[in-house]
């Protein structure tokens, strides 16, 4: 089911005619008095790489375990290919899962681990051998086929787990914090490998993670969860650029949040009065906002320009003194304190050597940004 030759962007979620592979219909899950998932509706489409992102305890793992069949829904239905999966036990679902602990069978070799699911399918014996070799090749572990799981490294184990869960060619692959146990460098390499494998196999991936960078890197869409509810479901760039709430804005990356009262200027332009003696912040919003609504203005640190003199061509400008500088290698974060005590973070790429840095501690600087650089959030 490859896409036809056209270079159309993969975005089935914006096509109203597309039928989702998975559909959550007002799904709730309660453990005693604790509500893990609350009246949740979600569509996931074929060939998507879908990330469930949230802090621990937000219900993302419960959601995944309901798909795998290890938890039953308390209310609502989950449809896979239009079929209600509630009565289907986990061993009969065309869904496979890669476990956080990898859950490799310690008493079986790498090859036998991969063949485990195939041996329990109608596949012929000779085909199983071929399929196992194909999977070993996919994850580049051909030389390790005879080893036991405890005889290989963590990164290799992760790849065995992936190969094992992909061997049966499931309609849907669930990945529960698949890279959590790897160190940072290996994790980044593996992220690209995962994306590559997902594209080559054309399998729908649903990944659970609490690492926002990971979700942003691998996923076609990200669902940000909080306390059993979906806060925002969107593409990584839109989640980052136009978060729909303070929660999402704060959870993903760094952000400056300024609270104040709204007053409309014209059409979609608004002014935010936020502190005495400071000019109002000019921003835009597609929403109709009433005069005096309490709002947050959210802007990413890299969208703030830092300069010695106030620029004349930008809608917003504030002045302050540099309180602190965090040198991160590829970029530096300047923490600037304004006259009313509010601090703002501005991030600047270090494209010159550090010795030639223009600003230093206690310098007077201007921070400026355009009227479309940030977002106005009402919740």
């Amino acid at each position: 089911m490859l896409q036809d030759g056209s270079k159309s962007i993969f975005a089935p979620w914006s096509d109203p005619a597309a039928t989702p592979l998975i559909r959550f219909q007002s799904v709730s899950k309660k453990f005693g008095h604790f509500t893990a998932v609350n009246d949740l509706n979600l569509d996931i489409y074929e060939r998507e790489f879908f990330a469930l992102l949230g802090p621990s305890g937000c219900g993302k793992t419960t959601l995944m375990r309901m798909l795998a069949g290890f938890e039953a829904t308390s209310e609502g239905t989950i449809l896979l290919d239009g079929q209600n999966i509630a009565p289907v036990p986990p061993n009969k679902r065309a869904v496979n899962m890669m476990f956080q602990s990898y859950a490799l069978f310690p008493h079986l070799s790498v090859a036998d681990n991969i063949a485990f699911g195939l041996k329990r399918s109608p596949m012929a014996k000779s085909d199983i051998q071929d399929r196992v070799e194909e999977m070993l090749k996919l994850v580049r572990l051909e030389q390790f086929a005879r080893r036991k799981p405890h005889q290989i490294s963590g990164g290799q184990r992760q790849r065995v787990a992936l190969a094992r869960s992909l061997a049966k060619a499931p309609r849907l692959l669930l990945l529960d914090e698949p890279l959590g146990a790897l160190d940072k460098k290996l994790r980044q390499d593996t992220q690209f490998e995962l994306m590559d494998i997902q594209e080559r196999t054309g399998t729908t991936f649903v990944i659970v993670t609490h690492d926002q960078e990971e979700a942003m890197t691998v996923a076609s869409r990200v669902a940000v969860m909080d306390q059993g509810e979906l806060v925002q479901v969107d593409t990584p760039d839109r989640i980052y650029e136009t978060p729909n709430s303070v929660y999402v804005a704060d959870f993903i990356g760094e952000i400056n949040l300024i609270e104040g009262n709204i007053s409309p200027i014209e059409a979609d332009r608004y002014a935010l009065d936020w502190a005495e003696g400071q000019p109002p912040i000019i921003g835009t919003s597609q929403e109709m906002l009433r005069e005096g609504t309490r709002c947050h203005f959210a802007i990413r640190p890299e969208k703030l320009a830092i300069s010695a003199e106030p620029p004349t061509d930008r809608a917003n400008c504030v002045t302050g003194t540099i309180l602190d500088i965090a040198y991160l290698g590829n970029m530096s974060t300047y923490i600037v304190e304004l006259s009313n005590g509010q601090t703002l973070k501005a991030q600047v790429a270090n494209n010159r050597r550090i010795a030639r840095r223009t600003f230093t501690w206690n310098d007077q600087v201007s921070l400026s940004w355009t009227d479309t650089a940030g977002v106005i959030l009402t919740r």
Binding site: G69, P90, N91, G117, R120, S121, K148, R164
Partner: protein
């Protein structure tokens, strides 16, 4: 740490070991006594071992004991493993707390009471006392030891392994057979060994439930000793000590080697 071998250390070590092993050492020495008198040394001889082999009553008792131990420890291993699995994996079912409390009760129950109640039961249901009743009785009291050993292994056993098996198409029974069982096998085996040894040396429960045709070795030894300790008994006891020692040494060597091999494998994995 002070590694010096002080006088205090030497004394406590000697006292402790003497306390533990002196009786056994004396027993072993006197089993090689040529004299018929138990407490008088009459020179070295293996004569009592020779007589022991010809003593049919002892051989029969040994054979009964062995059969009872093999059967009852096997039943106990199966039942104990099942009980442990239900308690650890069964979730919260009605009466779980009561069940798990009751499974451990025989551990602290006085043997006399266990034996007496089993005897009453066998009489009530009209079961003739013989090897089968001893096997049943031994299974009853040793399965809780097995379930203690196995459930402590199951608690540390990563549950997601079973879930992975289900996920890959196993029925729950297939998942148990092909994933859980191979991984808890060492615990099941050591539970089986424990049940086997417990059955081998049980005297109290066996004497309640044994029939006239099914005398076990401990019963035989105990009743012979009441007529006076013979050097033959010493020889028999020495043989039993030997069997148990070999068993313990082999078991510890096997587990030591398994650990060493795993450590070596893991070191190799880190290097690659």
């Amino acid at each position: 740490m002070n590694r010096r071998f002080s006088l205090f250390n030497a004394t406590s070590l000697t006292l402790g070991f003497a306390f533990l092993y002196l009786p056994m050492v004396i027993l072993i020495i006197f089993s090689f006594n040529a004299s018929k008198l138990v407490a008088v040394w009459g020179g070295f001889s293996t004569r009592w071992y020779g007589e022991l082999i010809q003593n049919e009553a002892f051989l029969d008792a040994a054979w009964v004991t062995l059969r009872v131990a093999l059967l009852s420890s096997t039943f106990a291993a199966v039942l104990g493993t099942m009980a442990a699995y239900v308690m650890v994996r069964g979730g919260r079912f009605f009466g779980r707390t009561l069940f798990s409390g009751m499974i451990y009760a025989p551990l602290v129950m006085p043997e006399v009471i266990t034996g007496l109640s089993l005897l009453l039961l066998f009489i009530a249901i009209g079961l003739d006392r013989g090897i089968m009743t001893i096997v049943l009785a031994h299974t009853t009291f040793s399965m809780c030891y097995v379930s203690v050993v196995v459930s402590s292994r199951l608690v540390t056993f990563d549950r997601s392994l079973e879930e992975a098996a289900l996920d890959l198409g196993c029925t729950p029974f297939d998942a148990f057979r092909s994933v859980t069982l191979p991984n808890i096998a060492p615990a099941v085996i050591s539970g089986w060994l424990l049940a086997f040894t417990l059955s081998l040396d049980d005297l109290v429960i066996a004497s309640f439930t044994a029939g006239p045709s099914s005398t076990t070795l401990p019963i035989k030894i105990f009743s012979s000793v009441r007529l006076g300790v013979s050097p033959e008994i010493n020889a028999l006891s020495t043989l039993m000590i030997g069997v148990v020692t070999i068993g313990v040494v082999v078991a510890s060597l096997v587990s030591k080697r398994a650990i060493a091999r795993q450590q070596k494998d893991e070191q190799e994995a880190r290097r690659t």
